[in-house]
């Protein structure tokens, strides 16, 4: 399996390998997505224990949903990160007492020596650039919705701005991110 972006056929093969419990396929998927899933867990759930549990559950959920993966309808990274985010937000909302660490979008990027680390660096860099395309208020809005699990209504009520305005701003921000990502294989 190449180190760069995967072709749809390769993504399908990996998911089929996951479904079959193939050691190589699971480890390949973990090498690509284990760290981002764990990172998301750390960000949303706040502890290593919760993030590790989330990571394990995300791969199990991916195995359960493997039959629904269709590479013609979206990339593997989107599919897996959506599973991860949905699981994490569910837990965040359920465990209201969870400690939420301060969000760090940019900090010291680790040295990248292995292909996996280099790919992670490129992905991180591209995502940061996409976020940088947003205004400060759009970025804050996206962070509240995506990383804190706040609904548009909750944001509207907290900030005392119309619900429709929140929805429009979220949509505008996502479209900007989408445009910034165009041509990049995250």
């Amino acid at each position: 399996m190449p180190d760069g972006p995967l072709l749809p056929k390769e993504e399908q093969q990996l998911v089929e390998g996951l479904l079959a419990g193939d050691d190589t396929a699971i480890r390949t998927l973990y090498a690509r997505f284990g760290r981002p899933v764990f990172t998301l867990g750390m960000r949303l759930l706040g502890t290593r224990e919760a993030a590790e549990e989330l990571t394990q559950d995300v791969f199990l959920a991916a195995w359960r949903k493997a039959a629904s993966f269709d590479p013609s309808r979206g990339r593997l990274s989107t599919w897996l990160m959506t599973i991860a985010h949905n699981l994490a937000v569910d837990r965040l909302r359920r465990d209201t007492g969870v400690t939420k660490p301060t969000l760090i979008l940019v900090d010291e990027v680790p040295e990248h020596e292995s292909p996996d680390e280099e790919r992670a660096f490129i992905e991180h860099d591209a995502a940061i650039r996409a976020l940088a395309s947003l205004s400060a208020s759009e970025r804050a809005l996206i962070v509240r919705a995506y990383f804190r699990g706040q609904s548009a209504r909750e944001i509207s009520e907290q900030d005392q701005i119309p619900l429709g305005t929140v929805k429009t701003r979220l949509r505008t921000a996502l479209i900007k991110i989408r445009k910034a990502n165009q041509g990049k294989e995250l």
């Binding site: 479904l19 079959a20 419990g21 050691d23 699971i26 480890r27 973990y30 284990g34 760290r35 981002p36 764990f38 990172t39 998301l40 960000r43 290593r48 993030a51 590790e52 990571t55 394990q56 791969f59 199990l60 195995w63 493997a66 039959a67 309808r73 979206g74 990339r75 990274s77 989107t78 990160m81 959506t82 985010h85 937000v89 760090i104 979008l105 900090d107 010291e108 990027v109 680790p110 992670a120 992905e123 991180h124 591209a126 995502a127 996409a130 976020l131 919705a145 995506y146 609904s151 548009a152 429709g164 929805k167 979220l170 949509r171 996502l174 479209i175 991110i177 989408r178 990502n181 995250l186």
Partner: protein, 262 residues
């Protein structure tokens, strides 16, 4: 839900914060609207990319082995693969028989004015149903060597042209499936719904209810049941008053499956 309304909800769906009735209605809309589905995909990809903006955190090295072990343990049961194959079976059987039933109804409405014609057509239809079941099972993923099939013919209790076919798919997981089709069934509408039950020496399981039949007296129900249907060898269809309308006996069928998937 209109496309305009759907698109106001798509950002929240992409960000994972849409819940409740809005979420349900949006999913319904997306099921048929390709344009909104395309936008949902694009916004979803944009949202998913946000994960990579977080400063990476390193999980413990042993987490990889734990993940691999957990997935392999789950995969050793292979339930999703079975379920997927079985759902394909259920959907295919139901769809094909529904089409067959409609075709039968149209034929009956035009041609089968006489009892003898009805009986002949019903006989042909049942033979076709059995052939269809067999063909489906041989052509799709029904591959676990532990799976087995039981099939039977249903006949009208008090005489008459009505008949039917029943099939059960028995899986080692105990999550079994039943498909029952009836034909040429003439029953007073007041006696519906008809309840289909599988009965054994020690247990019985309700498969479902037939709410109505088409103009040819045909109907099909298919159900996946999280119960073990092994040993339930009688199929009984009762009307709303509890009177038996059709009944039959299931027997094991040897159906050759394709080669097991790796």
């Amino acid at each position: 839900m209109t496309c305009s309304a759907a698109r106001t909800l798509l950002p929240e769906r992409s960000l994972g914060t849409l819940t409740g009735r809005n979420a349900t209605e949006l999913e319904r809309h997306l099921a048929w609207c390709a344009a909104c589905r395309k936008e949902a995909r694009e916004l979803g990809a944009a949202a998913a990319s946000l994960v990579f903006a977080l400063a990476p955190r390193e999980p413990a090295p042993e987490l990889e082995d734990r993940v691999v072990a957990a997935v392999q343990h789950a995969a050793s049961g292979r339930t999703p693969a079975h379920r997927r194959g079985r759902m394909v079976v259920a959907a295919t059987v139901a769809a094909m028989l529904a089409v067959a039933g409609l075709g039968f109804g149209a034929v009956m409405a035009g041609r089968a004015a006489r009892f003898r014609d009805i009986a002949i057509t019903t006989s042909v239809r049942n033979r076709d149903a059995v052939a269809t079941f067999r063909q489906i099972l041989q052509s799709i993923e029904f591959t676990d060597p532990g799976n087995s099939v039981e099939m039977g013919q249903l006949t009208q209790v008090h005489g008459g042209p009505a008949s039917g076919t029943a099939l059960t798919l028995l899986a080692p997981s105990g999550q079994d499936m039943a498909v029952v089709t009836v034909a040429a069934l003439r029953v007073d509408p007041a006696r519906f719904p008809l309840v289909v039950t599988l009965v054994g020496p020690k247990a019985k399981v309700r498969v479902g209810a037939i709410a109505k039949v088409d103009s040819g007296g045909a109907a099909t129900i298919a159900a996946q049941l999280d119960q073990d249907l092994a040993g339930l060898d009688q199929v009984v269809i009762r009307d709303v008053g509890g009177d038996v309308v059709l009944r039959g006996e299931l027997t094991s069928r040897q159906l050759q499956s394709p080669s097991p998937r790796p």
